[in-house]
């Protein structure tokens, strides 16, 4: 076992009291979590609550011919049930993001008339205990008339393919041609055209350790639901649920405290939440639902499986990349729960890290009899970046060039920043070549030839691979119009409130729903720097509550944006508060102008005579509880709300052109693998991950995100896959069969960081946290380097590597 390497840019311990930003301040969240005092959704209990269990489809595709819940309902302690038929009577189908044909499908929160994947919820049963709810579910009788299943997306448009959604008149959900630059000219100029018939990015997700859940209470008197849940994007859930349930959003109160990991996989639980809401109303009691692990694997938020067909790459003999064309085929699974947004999200990173200007991608998304896909860490960009990196290494091999040299020749250069991509996105800052140099240094690239020889001496094959992630963050939701021009979404926003309370408490409220990203800590760092106090004096409320009035349409924790949207909202609100404090103190001091005042040591004072000092406690008390005699025109509440709105334009729908995200954090990973040629078994023997997310508010938290994403990438590259048999049965429905890495699976890791501040954000920060894709590619490239066989799949378990070795031999 190799030793772990020390971090190159080590987070320094915090000893100072000023200048909190940039320090690895210890997390404020940890104390409760370390003592088992966090409040996760399954910890929330209510008197008289019933436990909900879903009866799920055993078939991938079948008509439902009969449902009988009477035997289940007859059991003592069973409170009631809900069927698809009731759902169809009580709710409208969910709003569809897609244009036709995907727009025409009818998606309800329980299966209506037909099931379309194994594990699809068919009936919900609520009972006095979890065990009883499960027992009663066994007594629900459902008769099915099985239909042929469509499992391979490549067959979806065949004339004899089973059709999932008659309303869509076929399995095509969405298609769009993206074309920028002059493809004909690029291919005419090319010395070589490299052709790649098929590349495949596999289906997996991040399997947060806490599954989905909710405790839903219905307030009959006011017709309002309180939804305690771990949904990570309540803004999205609300706009899906409100119209379906035909209620205003004021009737849907979302409450969250601690969330046990999300990674995008907890965005699309709105169907289950609707079921909980309907049952809480029907049964007039709180309803508790905690998803079982097997249920999660069967039904929740698989990552997009994608093929790239008939890829052609225009290159010069020296390795200069001119452009490419390809056809992307995306498997959405049975329902479009967030899709087909994956059909445009990839375009945030159209050229990857490279300067090619002529790009055409024909995107097609189809439905299959598999679990619905939804965002997963690196959502849709990961697939596309994996593709671009695969192209680089295949080109390098075909031209017999060094992959490092091909990258450096084609990387967008630091001096090109800000860089407008062929489709109008603007990469804000970065130094990719510098990052690659640092990553290579961390794995001691110079020593690789000697290590390769040494590996050969003991019968092993050593290979090195490079991968990258462009962690595009802060979405311009206007990109949804490229999918459906009818949609009226654009821009982005996030909210924070900061107030001074009676005893001088600084209280911060966020609109986000963090799942371990340390928002309480980094928000406090930003506030403390502006108010010139200690982070210990800043109280950041844990979690999210729609009743706090600190959210907007896009509030939530997803898509790498807190460091921009969340912290910019915090900064804005805190600056408003600082200005109000000065205004108040100016009045109290008898008309001192704000410029003559400064904040320091937990209060406000006159710069020239620091003895004239008003502590925050006095400020809070005066405004909130002792305000007689204050000037009538003093406009001060010490309770400030700020909505941060990034600078975006609506994209050009015709040209599919415009800036789709505000920031581009970057990661470059290098993996070194050693393969046993007899068996295909391999080990990652060295690994480096270099990150550049602009200004880092808390380097230790950033490094933690890099590490976590790396581990998920390694798991996905080697072990994790949602594989189905030909009948549509999931072969990896639990942690026995779906192997996630454990401590012994982790290679030695060296991390490094560069800081290229974003010129577009108030704090110079960039959202980050989705760096997983880089690792998947780094492993693929290292396998290609070691075996000499072209790697065409993102998932390379030992048996596939063995096959690659046979291929290379032949």
């Amino acid at each position: 076992m190799t030793e772990m390497t020390e971090t190159v840019v080590a987070p320094a311990p915090v000893e100072v009291q000023k200048g909190w930003g940039g320090q690895s301040v210890r997390r404020k969240e940890d104390k409760r979590l370390l003592q088992g005092e966090g409040v996760f959704v399954d910890d929330v209990k209510r008197h008289g609550m019933g436990y909900l269990h879903f009866v799920r489809s055993p078939y991938a595709h079948a008509h439902i011919t009969r449902i009988d819940v009477s035997a289940a309902e007859a059991i003592e302690g069973v409170y009631g049930t809900l069927t698809g038929e009731e759902v169809a009577a009580l709710t409208e189908p969910f709003f569809q993001i897609s244009s036709a044909p995907g727009a025409n499908i009818k998606d309800y929160s329980l299966a209506v008339g037909k099931v379309r994947y194994v594990g699809e919820p068919v009936v919900a049963v609520v009972a006095e205990t979890r065990e009883l709810a499960r027992d009663a579910s066994e007594l629900v009788e459902v008769d099915y008339e099985p239909l042929p299943a469509l499992v391979d997306a490549r067959r979806a448009q065949d004339s004899d393919a089973p059709v999932l959604h008659d309303d869509a008149e076929g399995n095509l959900m969405w298609t769009g041609l993206y074309s920028w630059g002059d493809l004909d000219a690029a291919f005419a100029e090319a010395d070589r055209v490299v052709k790649i018939p098929e590349l495949h990015f596999h289906r997996f997700n991040s399997t947060p350790l806490e599954c989905d859940g909710a405790l839903v209470e219905y307030n009959r008197g006011v017709g309002q639901w309180t939804i305690h849940t771990n949904n990570q994007f309540p803004g999205f859930a609300a706009i899906m649920m409100g119209p379906a349930m035909q209620v205003g959003l004021d009737k849907l109160r979302f409450v969250t405290q601690d969330i046990g990991g999300g990674f995008g996989n907890k965005i699309t639980s709105h169907p289950q939440l609707v079921v909980c809401c309907l049952l809480a109303r029907k049964l007039n009691r709180p309803v508790q639902w905690t998803e079982w692990r097997t249920d999660f694997h069967l039904s929740m938020s698989h990552g997009n499986e994608r093929w790239f067909h008939d890829t052609e790459v225009a290159v010069k003999d020296d390795g200069t990349l001119l452009g490419f064309r390809t056809k992307a085929l995306d498997d959405a699974g049975a329902w479009l729960r967030y899709e087909p947004l994956g059909g445009v999200i990839w375009a945030q990173v159209t050229p990857g890290l490279y300067r090619w200007r002529h790009i055409e991608l024909d995107f097609t998304q189809v439905a299959t009899n598999k679990a619905p896909v939804s965002p997963n860490r690196g959502y849709s960009r990961m697939q596309h970046l994996w593709f671009t990196e695969r192209v680089i290494d295949i080109v390098a091999r075909e031209l017999d060039l060094d992959p490092v040299e091909v990258r450096k020749r084609n990387y967008i250069r630091a001096e090109d920043m800000p860089y407008e991509t062929p489709n109008g996105c603007v990469y804000d800052s970065g130094d990719y070549a510098g990052m690659l140099d640092l990553a290579l240094e961390l794995i001691d690239y110079e020593s690789i030839p000697a290590k390769r020889a040494a590996a050969k001496d003991h019968g092993k094959l050593l290979g090195v691979g490079i991968g990258s992630t462009l962690d595009s963050g802060t979405n311009n939701f206007g990109q949804s119009r490229l999918i459906n021009p009818e949609l009226q979404f654009s821009g982005n926003n996030e909210v924070a409130t900061v107030k001074l309370d009676i005893f001088g408490e600084i209280v911060v409220t966020l609109g986000t729903t963090p799942q371990g990203q340390g928002h309480e800590t980094t928000a406090a760092q930003v506030v403390a720097d502006i108010l010139q106090c200690s982070v210990d004096d800043v109280h950041v409320r844990a979690g999210h509550d729609s009743y706090w009035n600190s959210h907007a349409g896009f509030s939530g924790t997803y898509a790498s944006q807190f460091a921009v949207t969340g912290l910019s909202a915090v900064k804005g609100a805190t600056e408003m508060l600082a200005a109000e404090i000065k205004k108040l103190a100016g009045a109290v001091f008898g008309g001192v102008p704000a410029e003559a005042l400064e904040l320091a040591d937990g209060g406000v004072r006159i710069k020239e005579s620091p003895d004239a000092f008003l502590p925050f406690m006095a400020c809070g008390a005066i405004v909130n509880a002792n305000n007689a005699g204050l000037p009538e025109d003093l406009d001060v509440t010490l309770n400030c709300r700020y909505v941060y709105r990034p600078p975006f334009e609506v994209p050009d729908v015709e040209r599919k052109f415009g800036n789709l995200t505000l920031t581009y954090a970057t990661q470059i990973h290098v993996a070194v693998v050693e393969i046993d040629p007899e068996t295909g078994a391999y080990e990652i023997v060295d690994y480096a991950a270099v990150d550049d997310c602009g200004k880092r508010i808390n380097p230790q938290i950033v490094e933690g995100q890099v590490m976590g994403a790396t581990a998920q990438a390694i798991g996905a590259a080697i072990h994790e896959t949602y594989e189905y048999d030909e009948d549509g049965n999931l072969l990896t429905p639990n942690f026995y069969d779906y192997h996630v890495p454990h401590a012994l699976d982790m290679p030695p890791l060296a991390t490094g960081a560069l800081e290229s501040p974003s010129p577009f954000t108030p704090l110079g920060t960039k959202g980050m946290g989705e760096g997983g894709g880089a690792g998947i590619h780094a492993v693929c490239a290292a396998i290609q380097d070691a075996t000499g066989a072209i790697v065409t799949d993102s998932h390379n378990p030992y048996q596939r590597v063995w096959l690659l070795l046979q291929e290379a031999h032949a």
């Binding site: 030793e3 581990a711 401590a743």
Partner: protein
């Protein structure tokens, strides 16, 4: 069935359905929600507790099997709100993000350190291999445990 069990030094007597899992007994009947459920197959270790001195996954035992037993959970680690050196090390080394696996990790590491006060890196990884973390990649967890090993 009547069950008498001592958890973190407090004795509890409860009437328990024979098929109830120990983890659900701890969480639902005793309201000790620090131990978590992350799977339904005994793989993830989020429910790890120390049972008569032995590390167990409490989803793999029935509550009735705990009759007469002495159980330690994450809630019992810190005394008078003072974090143990291991808990402090988790904070210092950023060994937790979402915190969902953390109680199980702490119990596994606590059991290891009681048996072996100076484990090697490899011994630490072996001791934690029954605990899944999806946030950290384990590097900082191993580092935190190493830092309190003598």
């Amino acid at each position: 069935m009547d069950v008498t069990v001592t958890v973190n030094g407090t004795a509890y007597e409860r009437d328990v359905e024979p098929r109830k899992l120990l983890i659900h007994f701890l969480r639902d009947d005793l309201d000790l929600t620090g131990s978590h459920v992350g799977c339904d197959t005994g793989n993830c270790g989020a429910c790890s507790v120390i049972f008569d001195g032995v590390l167990v996954k409490s989803c793999m035992l029935l509550a009735v099997q705990a009759n007469g037993a002495n159980v330690e959970t994450v809630e019992g680690l810190a005394e008078d709100d003072e974090l143990t050196p291991l808990q402090q090390a988790f904070n210092e080394h950023h060994a937790l993000q979402c915190g969902y696996c953390t109680p199980g990790m702490l119990m596994s590491a606590t059991a290891l350190l009681r048996e072996n006060a100076s484990p090697s890196e490899d011994e630490i990884k072996k001791a934690l291999q029954g605990n899944i973390c999806r946030c950290t990649g384990y590097w900082n967890i191993v580092e935190a445990v190493e830092s309190v090993a003598k």
